[in-house]
Amino acid sequence: MTGIADGPDDWVIDVQDLGVQYDLRLTRKTTLRGSFARLLHHGQGDRTFWALRDVAFRLVRGESLAVIGPNGAGKSTLLLALAGIIRPSQGRVTVRGDVSALLTLGPGFDDELSGRDNILLAGAFMGLDHGEMKDRIDEIIAFADIGQFIDAPIKTYSAGMKTRLGFSIATAVDPDILLLDEVLASGDEAFRVKSKARILEIVRAAKAVVLVTHDMNWVREFCNRAILLEGGHVVAEGEPIEIVGIHQAHSERVSVQKQPEASRLPAVT
């Protein structure tokens, strides 16, 4: 368990005592989440569960933090809390600077609208300044590389085109703090190379990065710090190589234990 990292004064993200609680009575589509809740907290009843609990860390300018852990450990929830999309049930998150979150690709496109209209709409949702969005639109269209389809409704797009446009919109911002969630492998090979280069460019330009991924190569290559989340708690924090080692040791142990435990799970509504 880690306390608050007493870093230097130029921190950009400060997380104190963060807890996020889900109320399962309200979420009917919770088979997956609910099963993790039961798996992790069978003693506490079925109604609520803590996706994150007692999480504390501080991110300093220039740091690139990897968040790793098994499925359902609360990694994505942590990013949602950092992005302000989910309000903490406990504790506080303080962020200095502009945050851009690349959480999943192909976001809430409006199928009936053209690609161009969707770009402007997405910009408005993200709170981007209208004039600068207009300036950027050609760049976004060029990067997405979807040709004349840009003025056709999104419903006529192929899955790959949607992904490319989504990526292109989401990375059009140059944020101070970048939150990334497994968006690294997307599109065809050519676009994957292009998007990886773009992400690296943003990672370098950003003051701080928080990256959630299962790709340990990324962690080792691009992050200078890592935390390991398990069951909503930070179980280890430190050098990426060290944390990746702990994570891999844990997952081997868990995969051995999990089979008998999984068969005991009650059916979830």
């Binding site: 109320d23 309200l26 979420t27 989910i86 903490p88 998150v93 979150a101 709409l121 408005a124 709170g127």
Partner: protein
């Protein structure tokens, strides 16, 4: 570099602001995100305009056809002879369609953006607001259709009181906004609401004096029934429109003021309710 409009340092805590603060916050969000609302309204209007062969003509044509259907139903099938019946019901149908469209669109407005809500942080109150505003645009076109009908077919019904339509419409707008805020927030948790709403709206439609009025059709109605009916805010609103358009006389200003006051209170409570539930949206969707 694209810049953001939000403040530079943001503190996110579990602390929930006081009621007054929440309402002020919501009003501030609507004002600061007016461009987003405008985009959403534009998107909504373009959707209907680009998917149909006649496009924008439908905005005027649709209420006319609606009116034609009800005129056939009531005058031919039920054999009710009301003078100038098309304009009689037009005065009620156009505002009712505004309300019904706004409510139905607003109900799905938050739940329908579930992907976006889990991806981008933005004030969710813009969604029902945009739905109400888009319906208001359609209402304006409905009024245009009504103006055409009045001038072409019923020039003798044209009066100066038509200029007061915005007054009644303002009362209705506030009421609609209140209903939409509560509906949009509740529908996130209970999707059943959207299934019920169509039937509930239809019942409300028939209970409100849209196709009928006590004055024209049920003169012998017991006074208790009339006073019971006037508890329905749409009783006052529909009677107001009809006074202006059909009878060419001033509406019941006192009753309208009462409805406006109640609607304003409801809208404030609606904003509060919406803001109170907002933090749970991203978790539930």
């Amino acid at each position: 570099m694209a810049t953001r409009l939000e403040a530079r340092t943001s503190v996110i805590t579990s602390r929930i602001s006081g009621p007054l603060q929440l309402v002020i916050e919501a009003v501030g969000e609507i004002r600061s995100r007016h461009r987003l609302i405008r985009y959403l309204v534009g998107a909504d209007l373009r959707r209907t305009a680009t998917n149909t062969a006649l496009g924008k003509v439908w905005w005027v044509l649709d209420p006319l056809m609606y009116m034609a259907v009800f005129t056939v139903l009531v005058t031919v099938i039920f054999g009710r002879a009301t003078p100038d019946y098309p304009i009689f019901i037009f005065a009620g149908i156009v505002p009712w369609k505004w309300f019904a469209t706004a409510v139905e669109d607003a109900l799905g407005s938050v739940a329908g953006r579930n992907k976006l809500i889990k991806q981008v942080q933005f004030p969710k109150v813009v969604l029902p607001s945009a739905a109400v505003l888009a319906a208001t645009y359609n209402f304006a076109f409905g009024l245009l259709a009504m103006a055409l009908l009045l001038i072409v077919a019923y020039p003798h019904r044209v009066s100066v009181y038509l200029a007061l339509i915005p007054v009644v419409a303002t009362v209705q707008l506030v009421l609609t906004f209140a209903v939409c805020l509560v509906g949009a927030a509740l529908n996130v948790f209970f999707r059943d609401l959207r299934l019920v709403s169509g039937h509930a709206l239809r019942l409300w439609f028939y209970l409100s004096p849209v196709l009928w009025s006590f004055e024209e059709h049920f003169q012998n109605a017991p006074p208790t029934l009339v006073s019971a009916a006037s508890f329905n805010p749409f009783y006052t609103i529909m009677s107001g429109y009809r006074d202006l358009v059909y009878y060419g006389r001033p509406p019941d200003f006192v009753a309208l003021a009462v409805i406006l006051g109640a609607s304003l209170l409801a809208a404030v409570l609606g904003l509060l309710f919406f803001k109170w539930l907002e933090p749970a949206f991203a978790k539930v969707l």
